[in-house]
């Protein structure tokens, strides 16, 4: 019995203390009336308890304002990541011309190029536009080969470029994911060379640091609603292979999921 009583006393004491404190603060913060201003006195109607008399009903609620086009688009963009059915990954095959640095001092030494790459819309990991829609990264392999010489002495050279390259896309068509992009990255170049003289081949191979940068245009229109997208691009990519400069002019096609 003593415990509830003690709790009741404590609660009462606290309430009294709080009330006393509140009264004291109200009195301190009360506005100082202008003694010579008649309008300072509140003349609005009051009930018998002295409280202000409120209208019988409140003002009608205003009509719900519709979102503007911009607001709708902005909201759609903001929420797009939530219900996008795509995974944000894709794969492409590449073909084009690899304009190798010309050892003989010509402008370039052209070679046929092949390649493959997977890409990931890595920006999806980020919370907000534009980075979550514009950033992607490629993991690519590009291959070119050269062979030249006389019947007696000839050489063959193979070039394998392995790169990881993030890119930023400037969208021109959100729905079909058309856009221009800038890309820079790096990796390794594996170079194999063989020289054959009088039927005897001698080979050498080595790795070189590889730096890449470039521009391109890519798109990803849906092949089926919410399903697979066609992924394509055209690009100009510059490779810095050791101390040599190569240029890739290529087109790619593949699928994005």
């Amino acid at each position: 019995v003593r415990a509830p009583l003690s709790a009741g006393l404590l609660a009462g004491a606290l309430l009294c203390a709080s009330s006393a404190l509140g009264q004291s603060r109200w009195e301190d913060d009360a506005p100082i009336p202008y003694s010579d201003d008649p309008e300072a006195e509140d003349t609005r109607p009051r009930d018998r308890t002295g409280a202000r008399k409120l209208p019988g009903r409140s003002d009608a609620t205003a009509d719900l304002r519709e979102e503007s086009d911009w607001e709708q688009e902005e909201r759609a963009q903001r929420l797009s990541g939530i219900d996008d059915p795509h995974l944000g990954v894709g794969a492409e095959v590449t073909s084009g011309a690899l304009l190798l640095s010309s050892s003989q001092g010509e402008l370039v030494a052209p070679a046929f190029a092949l390649g493959a790459r997977v890409n990931w819309e890595v920006g999806r990991l980020l919370p907000s536009p534009p980075w979550n829609e514009s950033l992607f990264v490629d993991l690519a392999w590009t291959f070119g080969r050269q062979s030249e010489g006389t019947e007696r002495i000839f050489g063959r050279s193979h070039y394998h470029y392995f790169t990881v390259a993030p890119a930023y896309q400037f969208s021109v068509d959100q729905k079909r994911q058309y856009g221009f992009y800038l890309q820079a990255g790096g990796g390794l170049a594996y170079q194999f060379a063989g020289i054959t003289s009088d039927g005897q081949e001698t080979t050498i191979a080595g790795l070189k640091p590889l730096f890449q940068y470039g521009v391109g245009f890519r798109g990803g229109p849906e092949l089926s609603p919410g399903g697979v997208r066609l992924s394509f691009r055209a690009e100009v990519t510059r490779f810095r292979r050791g101390y040599l400069n190569d240029t890739l002019l290529a087109a790619s096609v593949g699928a994005a999921f």
Partner: protein, 417 residues
């Protein structure tokens, strides 16, 4: 450091470390060279480039290789008439070189401190530089100062047009072309054997033409003596052209004695067929300056004479005389030295002085007069005696016109008088 920052730092680092190889000379490289046991085949061999400054552009104190040039030699080029047609050698070269080209970008893979060419043209370029260095060292060894030889331009696979021959670029040749004061390694087309500039003997042969031009013709784009004698004494022009070719073959042979493969009179075989090689093999005893050749030399104009390739035949007979006069690498080197000393020798009257003296008296110049100058510069009495014997027998020379010929010289056998 954040991830993007790390990425950019790595990229910048990759760019920074992606520098061209820049070792100090001597630079260890692989080149296509005939070694002692290679049976005449050019195989990858580690060599040392002692004079190269930049192994990527292949520029050094011996040669500067240049790619992608365009040289258009048109005698009707209006630029040749500038300044009343009085152009110096540099201006003439500038008229003909329409595109001065670019530095090669030789591709290497480095392995154990040795640079390995990583494509065909890189192999070809590196070997070309090496061969020029070997030719340079040969001529230095036989007494030609480095300052005379200088740094030579080598146009690699240029577009080379001789309008007098036609509008199409020429292929399948390597040459020293005095109007542009440079060598040209032309692209191959029909020649499918060892590329000409990989062939060390052919590069030494062409380098000999440079030495001849520098010392005998005073480095003139269009030698005065040839211009003067072309109208009045074509026989003398034929003689000079023949001597130039024969001496180039002999110097190339003498230079081959410095190689690991050894002395080789058939150095052309790697690039040409057996019949062509036989025709230029200076070791053969049947290489003679016949009466028929002498008649052609005296009667044909320079275009017809060279068009028939007769300057090579006369030259091979002359070079064969030099070869058979010597009895081994030491004597061949001595002869090589004597020859270049005789090209220009001031008061001792070398070939250049002989030509200058007879600029207006071409009838006083002859094959014997030139051979006499050579004989006079052979310091060894015994060697001179043998050489004169070769001139008398193989070249059917007139002893009376060669005062430097020792009295003891007997005509060498093997050629019909």
């Amino acid at each position: 450091m954040s991830s993007p920052a790390r990425l950019w730092a790595a990229a910048v680092l990759a760019t920074g470390v992606a520098c061209a190889p820049s070792p100090e000379a001597p630079v260890q490289v692989m080149a296509l060279v005939r070694s002692g046991g290679s049976a005449g085949s050019y195989q990858p061999t580690q060599v040392s480039l002692r004079t190269v400054g930049d192994p990527v552009s292949l520029t050094g104190s011996v040669a500067q290789l240049i790619g992608g040039a365009r040289i258009d030699v048109d005698p009707a080029d209006p630029l040749l008439r500038l300044n009343g047609g009085n152009l110096n050698e540099e201006q003439i070269a500038r008229v003909f070189v329409k595109d001065s080209g670019r530095d090669p970008r030789t591709s290497y893979v480095e392995k154990d401190g040795v640079l390995w060419p990583a494509d065909f043209h890189s192999w070809n370029l590196v070997t070309t530089y090496y061969n020029f260095e070997q030719a340079f060292e040969h001529f230095q060894a036989v007494g030609v100062p480095a300052a005379v030889l200088g740094v030579v331009k080598v146009y690699y696979f240029p577009e080379f047009i001789l309008r007098e021959l036609g509008p199409r670029p020429l292929n399948d040749n390597a040459l020293y072309f005095s109007p542009v004061q440079a060598f040209m390694i032309l692209p191959f087309d029909q020649l499918q054997a060892t590329p000409l500039s990989i062939n060390q003997g052919i590069v030494a042969h062409e380098y000999s033409h440079l030495v001849w031009n520098r010392l005998v013709f005073g480095n003139q784009a269009f030698p005065t003596v040839l211009g003067r004698w072309s109208g009045t004494s074509q026989v003398n022009v034929n003689i000079l052209k023949s001597l130039d070719e024969g001496l180039a073959d002999f110097h190339a042979f003498a230079a081959s004695c410095r190689s690991a493969f050894g002395c080789d009179t058939r150095f052309m075989q790697a690039s040409f067929n057996a019949a062509q090689t036989d025709a230029r093999d200076i070791s053969r005893l049947d290489r003679c300056f016949t009466a028929g050749l002498r008649n052609s030399l005296q009667s044909l104009g320079i275009n017809e004479f060279t068009g028939l390739g007769l300057h090579y035949q006369v030259g091979t007979a002359f070079a064969s005389s030099l070869f058979h006069a010597g009895r081994g690498p030491e004597e061949w080197a001595l002869l090589s030295r004597a020859l270049v000393e005789s090209y220009q020798d001031g008061e001792n009257r070398g070939l250049a002085e002989l030509l200058r003296e007879n600029l207006e008296t071409p009838q006083l110049f002859s094959l014997e007069a030139a051979m006499n100058v050579f004989l006079a510069h052979v310091s060894s009495e015994e060697l001179r005696e043998r050489l004169c014997g070769q001139f008398l027998g193989r070249m059917n020379a007139d002893r009376a016109a060669m005062p430097a010929c020792p009295a003891a010289s007997a005509p060498a056998e093997g050629c019909a008088p």
